[in-house]
Amino acid sequence: MIPAKFDYIKATSISEAVNLLDEHGFDAKILSGGQSLLPAMKLRLNRPEIVIDINGIPGMNSIEETGDEVIIGANCTHTQILNSDMVYKTVNILHQAVTTLGDVQVRNRGTIGGSLAHADPSADYPAVVLACNAQIEVEGKGGKRTIAATDFFQGIFTTALEDDEIVTAVRFPKVAHGKYLKFYQSASRFAIVGVAVVFDDSKVKVGITGVSDTPYRATAVEEAYTGNGDAAEHAVDGIEVMSDHFADENYRSHLAKVMVKRALEE
């Protein structure tokens, strides 16, 4: 399995990467961990002519704390996040999600920025960034901007990123109490259903991945929540539920309700 021909360029700054994207548009692809892009290129589902490696760009792989936020550089690997004491203590729900993500080898290479930009409908981070109300920092030819997680995911493998934009960091508000629960597809360990619940006094925020082709905030559950698991009934209200050979629509809907109920009752 060999990808189609491409030129490899190692970018040394964000502006260099952005300029290359601007110049080559659809023919160029960013490479971070390569754990999703390389399989897709080997299957020739993706055939970029230019591959722009952003791994060496300084300042994109740190985890920092400011007042009430934790800022995670887009190039931070899943392992870096998993082993961060700061993340463990201040955004524990993110830590919980990463413990379920792939295996050690994948976690050592794959990055949070890559996962968000890839927008796999079964990926784990989307549920967490939605439930946390995280902010995604991006930079393009026109400068920097911030995209709220709730505006970021637009469809299967589709995000609000413009062709010339890259994700540079993710800002998480500190979250005292949250729970991530995942029903695994047993071979790949991707989520068939992944549920992130953030508790905030008498309210909850619920992010769901794996159920629809776009991860979503389960606002119907949030509105119906009265302190117990009953609101889980509304987990798929108004949602077009995916069907595939692992789980058909009925089973997936049922799973979503069960997982939301369990998470709410934590």
């Binding site: 490479l31 390569g34 754990q35 463990y88 919980q96 994948v106």
Partner: protein, 204 residues
Amino acid sequence: MNEKIKKNSFLTNQIQVSLKINAKNRSLTLDSRTSLLDALREHLELNGTKKGCDHGQCGACTVIMNGKRQLSCLTLAATCEGANVLTIEGLAKKDKMHPMQGAFVKHDGFQCGYCTPGQICSAVALLQEAKDGDASYVTADVRNISKELKLSEEEIRERLSGNICRCGAYNNIVQAFKEVHSADDEMPTWKFATKMQMKSAKRK
């Protein structure tokens, strides 16, 4: 056109990479599409590292790069400039096997042997991860519990779950890891179930 592309355009997508493999410096000129796995196997005659799926699913291609285990099939050689790579060929000291290799032999941690180089590289990296107190699904807050923790069987299985063994030698692989990790070489023992146990097993 961008400078960096123009420079190479007459060579069509060639890259140059210098890295250290098993303590030897290597410089290679490769097609940009070459994975680290193909660079090892096709260009350096290091055939120990195996290609199972070439797709990130099986772990047969696991090598240790800059101290971290990773999949060489999902690593472009081009991204390895200056890297320090350790493969199965680099584990033995002259004629003396690495303790993990010895333990795999002793405990029969394989059948066909195809997954074994990946399993052993993964297990060797895991020894260090346990020393460093890395977190996992089973023990999330490892770092606050203790450094140098003794991994339970459940931990070992979880942390080696990126390496699939089609022959199902998992029990013996866990046994081999345990011996090197915690000098626990007690063999598992098996007993026939009693009549009562058989009955209650059926009911479930």
